[in-house]
């Protein structure tokens, strides 16, 4: 098992490197001169040359990339063109907020989506199941930002129950988490449901019933574990989507997080900050993929055995 974890960790490194490379390349080819952006009114040929040397922008592409990665390993994300402050500082200040919203959304998704999906899949022709199917269909189509606005309208403006912006305290997390998570909750619900339906049709469920196992235990002991596997895959895939969506959520709810920072930096053409945000988010996705893989391996004995030296 440990071997598997280490193997996956090692595998993560080239992936992150490759991602950094991709993002770096894209940003490198940004037309325009960064020194013009930084120097603004004080732009002169001389100052530009000097600045370029300072920032290492006169070196070749490969060298620049290499330096960037070297610094990255030490935790140095470079300096913002605009604010001249270290990017890592700004990221550090904002990332926790993003994390809170994403975690909240994830909790909302899983805690609601999975149980409802399981129940709905166990009783496929019931009213409950039909209702959940419809809610699922609607939920998957709801744009995050529109839902956010609607929630603000209802709960903040009309009912005044919850705050509509900022991130102080638990109540302010509720609306953003729901807005961000709704899409994915519907997704998870549908996947869990269809995965349950699929599993219940399997022969080994019939074997269990033929043994006299009670319906409740058939679901609990036999169906659930098998049904969870596609669900976990989907949950894993959705984490990336959540990080994409958090940009929208932070905009709607005016939350000072990495997402909003990214958008602001793009508007200000502050490349190091943009790069920093993208890299951090990519690392998050990579780490969460790893966690999902580990959970998967834990549940599926076939994978577990492959890595703990069992018979194959």
């Amino acid at each position: 098992m440990i071997k598997y974890i280490i193997k996956r960790l090692i595998y993560m490194i080239p992936v992150i490197l490759a991602l950094t490379f991709v993002v770096f390349t894209i940003m490198y080819f940004t037309p325009g001169d960064p020194t013009a952006v930084i120097l603004g009114n004080e732009y002169t040929e001389e100052a530009s040359m000097q600045l370029k040397q300072e920032l290492g922008l006169d070196k070749s592409f490969i060298v620049q990339f290499f330096n960037y990665v070297k610094n990255l390993i030490r935790g140095d994300f470079g300096i913002s063109y605009i604010s001249r402050a270290p990017v890592s500082e700004q990221l550090l200040g904002r990332f926790p907020n993003t994390f809170k919203v994403v975690a909240g959304a994830m909790l909302f998704c899983v805690c609601l989506g999975v149980p409802i999906g399981v129940l709905s899949g166990t009783k496929p022709y019931s009213l409950f199941s039909n209702i959940t199917m419809i809610i699922g269909l609607l939920g998957v189509s709801l744009p995050i930002f529109w839902l956010g606005l609607l929630l603000i309208l209802l709960f903040s403006v009309n009912l005044g129950w919850l705050p509509s912006s900022g991130i102080d305290g638990f109540p302010s997390l509720i609306l953003p988490s729901v807005a961000l998570g709704a899409n994915y909750m519907a997704n998870i619900m549908r996947t869990t449901r269809s995965s349950m339906l699929e599993v219940i049709r399997q022969d080994y469920i019939r074997t269990a019933k033929a043994k006299g196992v009670s319906q409740r235990n058939v679901i609990r002991k036999h169906a659930l574990q098998n049904a969870m596997m596609p669900t976990i895959t989907v949950i894993g895939m959705n984490i990336g989507a959540l990080l994409g969506g958090v940009v929208l959520t932070e905009t709607v709810f005016s939350i000072p997080g990495t997402g909003r920072f990214l958008v602001e930096s793009i508007n200000k053409r502050d490349t190091p900050c943009v790069l920093g945000c993208l890299v951090i988010m990519a690392i998050c996705v990579a780490i969460s993929n790893l966690i999902v893989d580990l959970i998967y391996a834990y549940i599926d004995p076939r994978i577990k055995a492959q890595y703990s030296g069992g018979r194959s």
Partner: protein, 301 residues
């Protein structure tokens, strides 16, 4: 010997025709049984018709673009059925014209993904082995980056105009698409009738075009439908945060962004554009789901 081979070919053609026609009919019949899917199809067709006939429904310059400040923020009434926005423009007209942009960028970006991703996926799936490995490893790297962010990066670097948006969104779907095509090709590649085709001497190219592609079309069409929905969502999302279609061009996302400041007292200003996005995506999702169910042979049981 030659005669028998010829006989087989013509008989084969005969059966293939027969099979294909009735299979299409079967699929269509199954699709029709799914009421939600049919509703989705109808709604989507309506949206497409609206987009095509937009200039006939509402005048672009006068109603959608022209700023008319005295007319601003009027609630829905008989003259402006959805009200007017913060610059006095008729919301209904803007929504109608907004559908064009959404559909055009949505469809063309998926076309980009289809061609690039499809090519890579087909090659990877058909040849397998090292070729497959290399291509898929590259695609895996991209899978780590959420689609929106990849599109954002490209737009951040190259600027936001229509062409860039199409390419950016298209590229962000390419990795996922290549996976879909690859697995469809791999499934079909294994099936016996490819062996049978080889046995009568068809070349690789013939096999790819006649047998494999035709049978991959099913799952690919389903994904295309669902991706168009995603693409439309992405465009509106990007426009919402200001990195997509810029004002004054009407786009559902940027309409929401600009109307947001006024929504407290004029809720309708965020209702219509949001509903437009929602209904479009919903119809495409229903359609895609319906297609997927109709094409899945297992569900026939």
């Amino acid at each position: 010997m030659e005669d028998t081979a010829k006989k087989i070919t013509t008989k084969k053609e005969f059966f293939k025709q027969y099979k294909k026609k009735s299979r299409l009919q079967e699929i269509w019949k199954m699709f029709l049984k799914n009421k939600l899917a049919v509703i989705g199809l109808i709604i989507f067709i309506i949206i497409v018709l609206v987009a095509i006939t937009a200039p006939l429904i509402a005048n672009y310059d006068n109603e959608a673009i022209k700023i008319n400040v005295p007319n601003r923020l009027k609630s829905p009434n008989s003259e402006h059925i959805l009200g007017t926005d913060e610059l006095g423009r008729d919301i209904f007209a803007r929504i109608v014209h907004g559908s064009r942009i959404s559909l055009i960028v949505g469809l063309s970006s998926v076309a980009v993904a289809l061609f690039i991703g499809g090519a890579f996926g087909a090659i990877a799936g058909f040849f397998g082995g090292t070729v497959d490995n290399i291509i898929m490893r590259c695609m895996d790297v991209f899978l780590c980056l959420p689609d929106v962010l990849l599109a954002l990066a490209i737009l951040a670097a190259f600027g936001t105009n229509l062409v860039n948006m199409t390419i950016a969104i298209g590229l962000s779907f390419t990795p996922k698409f290549s996976r879909v095509v690859r697995s469809a090709v791999m499934t079909v590649r294994g099936i016996e009738y490819v062996e049978a085709a080889r046995a009568i001497g068809a070349t690789n190219v013939q096999i790819i075009t006649k047998h494999i592609l035709i049978n991959c079309i099913g799952p690919i069409i389903v994904q295309v439908t669902l991706y168009v929905a995603s693409a439309i969502l992405t465009i509106s999302s990007l426009s919402f945060i200001g990195l997509g279609i810029q004002a004054p061009i009407p786009e559902w996302g940027n309409m929401l962004a600009s109307g947001r400041a006024f929504m407290r007292d004029h809720a309708y200003i965020v209702m219509a554009p949001g509903l437009a996005i929602f209904i479009t995506i919903l119809s495409l999702n229903l359609l895609g789901d319906g297609l997927r169910d109709a094409l899945d042979p297992r569900l026939k049981q």
